[in-house]
Subunit: 326 residues, 2 copies
């Protein structure tokens, strides 16, 4: 029931998923049964099960409301199904804050993880770079940053098949002594962590691809992510202004715009499968509120891939080795 | 003597400046006299005075070295000339940290200003937006953020002639309750300040132009600024990859690239005159290390403009009205 185009886009995505030859699992749709049936073919295709739920977490509901007052919501009930072993992964295009809070509450955290985190891929000159934390934890402590680094490293290594990914600490200068209190304290901890830590990276290094994983607090990460997302619209605006100069400019801008659109489409890695909440004892994938059916389908496949590739087991091992004094 | 192309670019910029019909002032060049004379025509054009200095602050010198061990540097001596009333503004393409520290040390702060700050213009769909603090203060307190807001508002109003500029607090959500500890505490203080505060703005709002002035701590500001600067290189890289596909793609990319270059050139507001250090009791303009002669010239004209438009007097008045309980 979550997202701007629910339940239609969610259901269309699930239909594409179960019809795909890659699909070797079943999908449980949690939501208002009669509304779901409106969008489902009859009979319901094989591979889809329904879980009728009475409530919905709205996009503007507070975390407290989602946690305390909406225990019959599709989100709450679906996560309970995972906790109880009925399903093995959870995917939602709904209220991001609620997904994070309910996933942590219901699934619990992996051993050693203080704060579950979300990592987002950004484009770079060397391929996708994981920015972590991308907004889950606005006030992060040095120990949190280290855990983000470990979880981000595991996720990148396992899911992108990039062995020993480089991890950089997002900072205002290259030297160890640079930064704010939190980043200065995090540096030596990251240095000791079981990751390929390459030191500080600056704002300009993200899109250069200097590090495979860029660690930061969730305040900075959220701002950088949303700032990055606003580049294409600025480019579009700049084009429109150029086109307004004359009919010839207009034709030229239209021709260029079409090519450019294709070129920067690859930048949108979220479209490729949502953002995982790492550190919870389960699989929880968060999609954009405006997720397309294709994005929903990719999110489900990504959840399955996280299970197949044993992301959580690997995080568990890495966290254990981090806490063992060397 | 500062910057990657000193003294050549600095002197070429000064020569363009004094030869311009807009120039109604004299320029004092501080540096090694014999090296300066190598790049100056003989006789030295009217309007240029030389101050011979023995030392130079290097681009990698620490602030402590610049403050304690290099009191005969061109930077130190030139700022002393301003303190003593010999000159009325200071411009440098040298070591940014040293310019900030020495300007604060030698010129002092305006009444009520705890931390001098640098503000940088970024492009937006509605014209230039001032991001402040852009890196001077990595650990900012709520009261600092308010002062950044006041100084940024004055600078934008006076220099860009935008009456009652809107001021937004860079944050992770629109609601007053959102953010990290510092931003949550800064919100009510900004609300009470003598500025046109419009509340929180998010990362995506910067390039949209939602606020004329975007206030943030220097850690976030530095990262956002450097991240923004790395966007054109990513675009260039994306173009190059596209061009590599075939000879036809190459021609098309070259044609597009040329137009696009012109379109995004306007994004570089620093080229238009450096970045002012606001809050010091004087005029101090910081240029990029790789400043072109044109950038140097523009920095000098901007310093003069700050004097003509009484930026510091206006900041002084605004700070006084902020500290008066209403």
């Amino acid at each position: 029931m979550g997202g701007d185009f629910a339940p239609r886009n969610v259901i269309d995505g699930v239909l594409s998923c179960v019809r795909s030859t890659r699909c070797d699992f079943r999908v449980l749709l949690a939501g208002d049964e009669s509304r779901m049936r409106e969008h489902l073919p009859s009979p319901i295709p094989d591979g889809i099960d329904l879980l009728h739920t009475e409530e919905t977490v709205g996009m503007h509901d507070s975390i407290t409301v989602a946690m305390k007052q909406k225990r019959q919501s599709s989100m709450y009930r679906a996560l309970e199904q995972q906790r109880d072993g009925v399903v093995h992964g959870f995917v939602s295009a709904g209220n991001t804050g609620a997904v994070m809070a309910l996933s942590t509450l219901i699934l619990g955290r992996l051993p050693g993880v203080e704060r579950p985190t979300i990592g987002t891929f950004l484009p770079s000159q060397k391929g996708p770079v994981l920015l972590i934390d991308a907004g889950a934890n606005v006030d992060s402590k040095p120990s949190h940053l280290v855990q983000f680094g470990i979880m981000g490293s595991v996720f990148t290594e396992v899911m992108m098949q990039r062995p020993a990914p480089t991890v950089g600490l997002l900072n205002v200068g290259e030297e160890e002594s640079k930064g704010n209190d939190v980043s200065i304290a995090a540096w030596p901890l990251l240095q000791q962590a079981p990751i390929n830590f390459i030191g500080n990276v600056e704002g300009r290094d993200i899109l250069k691809g200097t590090a495979d994983v860029v660690v930061c607090d969730g305040f900075t990460g959220n701002i950088v992510l949303k700032f990055a997302e606003s580049f294409p619209p600025l480019l579009k605006h700049t084009f429109r202004k150029y086109a307004d100069r004359s009919p010839l400019h207009k034709i030229w801008a239209a021709l260029m715009g079409r090519t450019l659109k294709g070129m920067i489409r690859d930048w949108d890695y979220q479209e490729h499968g949502g953002v995982p909440l790492l550190g919870v004892n389960g699989v929880s994938i968060i999609g954009h509120g405006s997720s397309s059916p294709k994005a929903i389908m990719n999110m489900i496949f990504r959840a399955k891939e996280m299970l197949d590739r044993h992301v959580n087991e690997t995080i568990r091992d890495a966290m254990a080795s981090a806490s063992t004094p060397s």
